[in-house]
Amino acid sequence: MALRRDDWLDLARKVDWEYTYVTEREMFPEVIAGEPWLPHSAWAEWEEAYRSTYREYVETQLEKDNSVFAVRDVLSKAKITERLDPSWMQLAKFHNGAIAVGEYAACLGELRMARFGRDSAWRAMANLGALDEIRHCQIPLLLSHDLLKFDPNFDWAHKAYHTNEWAMIAAKHLFDDMFTAASATDTALQLTFVFETGFTNLQFIAMAAMADGANDHVFEKALASIQTDESRHAQQGHPVLRAVLNAGGKEHAQFLLDKMWWRSYRLFLALTGTSMDYLTPVGARKASFKEFMVEWIMDQFVKNLEEFGLELPWFWDLFVKELDYSHHSFQLGLYQYRQTLWIDEPMPSPEDRAWLQEKYPTWEETFGPIWDQIEKTWETRGVNGTLPYTLPSLCNLCQLPTAFLGPKMLTACTGEYEGRKYLFCSEPCKWIFFKQPERFAGHKNVIDRVFAGECPSDYNAVLEWMGLESVEEQGRDLHNGDHPWRRTSVAAG
């Protein structure tokens, strides 16, 4: 009689043994396994809900892949892509460039946990997580390859991560901190507990809903499929956090969670906030970035913290306030510095502005005058009048431009370390830096590299240094300055 699954599963997953040729500490050095270092007995109860076997994993993944490929095949014949909104195409290009190879990097984090995770059930789960991340790299690369015939810049799905493009430097800096240069324990807390349990819901589920609204069903299917993997391997975070807290590691855990909440938020406001509220066609917007953040991310994160007896991050009030402003300021930066991107950026139309005002009641008062001024410059001076004269100041922690929250709301600040002054976009970034200055001080942002002679200072040469080697590759105004609503107003006038 065949054994039932539950009769043999623990035997297959819980395969820890006692070492005779090396000590446990040598087998799992603290520097890479993580702190607090605990004997295996402290990890022996490690468990998660999915308890997948390799066989089940392969069967399920095959079904998921077949499902994505079926939609891809059907829709390629129906020529749906040709009819997608041009703004939405920028979103897909932005997402795939920023995410695809980053997922491959996340494979390193999973593999670190697969080797140095302190219980075999954890290591088994992380092995499957590593396979997930390879899949999450390959799917957007494949779909982007399909889109090359519509827009050659879809090759940035592969290229972006290998360039000095400023947004990608910011993404790589975050991912290095989160998992590439983190111990197995820290990776579990930062990547799986904060980033994957919370934020990827936004990037994959909420974005999938918007893809549905935009009729991009291939993208929708791919995002939703990826999120089912994320939901599974994100389960690693909870039991690791439980073990760390049981061993008295609350202070360390709280720091990592606070740090990664803020850092993840910074990247998501730049990538996802702007994509949701500006690149998604108005009719496809299921909710605003702020609404998604509040309903999908914050509530769950707060519950998770309460479950473990942890505190809200000290900067919570600032974070909540930022939801009304930060990504809107950031979008102005993306538009103005569009040549430094591999996507085209839209000017918000009257329809966009009405929607933004409805969702963010201070939007028109705060950001309307600046967009008005840019529109006026288009009228009077054309494209050259709307491009920047100089480089923006970048944060020495998150690597992103230091933006005002709004008029008279300046959060930028500086701090000195070993005789050098560092710039930060906000107090939380400064706090993170000074909690681990030896970890962050040696990294030069793009502006530091200009002054160190490691990057050209001429604006066009900087673009080439970033990998944007030709004018065709650089981002433009989505309408090339021929904004339909301005045309109408001129004709009417």
């Binding site: 102005l332 930066g333 009048g385 480089l391 930028a412 500086t414 710039l423 002054f451």
Partner: protein, 84 residues
């Protein structure tokens, strides 16, 4: 020696890198910043008579002082606004 400052112009949304020498006047850097910003993103204040510059802590700076005299060093924040 070059001194790079991070200029923030009230009404704008972004910090910009400004460059001067130790003997460059604070007012010249403030003017440069205002030209970059007013030209592009911020409407000139009706009746504006000039500019006001402050350091990170909010201390009002003499526009005729040099960067050295104003105590501004590489990497410092310079806040500028229009005044009527």
């Amino acid at each position: 020696m070059f001194i790079h400052l991070h200029g923030y112009f009230e009404g704008d949304f972004l910090g910009l890198v400004c460059i001067g020498m130790g003997d460059t006047k604070v007012g010249d850097v403030a003017t440069q910043l205002s030209e970059w910003v007013l030209d592009l993103r911020v409407a000139p204040l009706p009746g504006a008579t000039g500019l006001e510059a402050r350091n990170e802590t909010g201390e009002l700076l003499d526009l005729n002082a040099t960067l050295d005299e104003a105590g501004l060093q590489a990497g410092d924040i310079l806040r500028v606004k229009q005044v009527a």
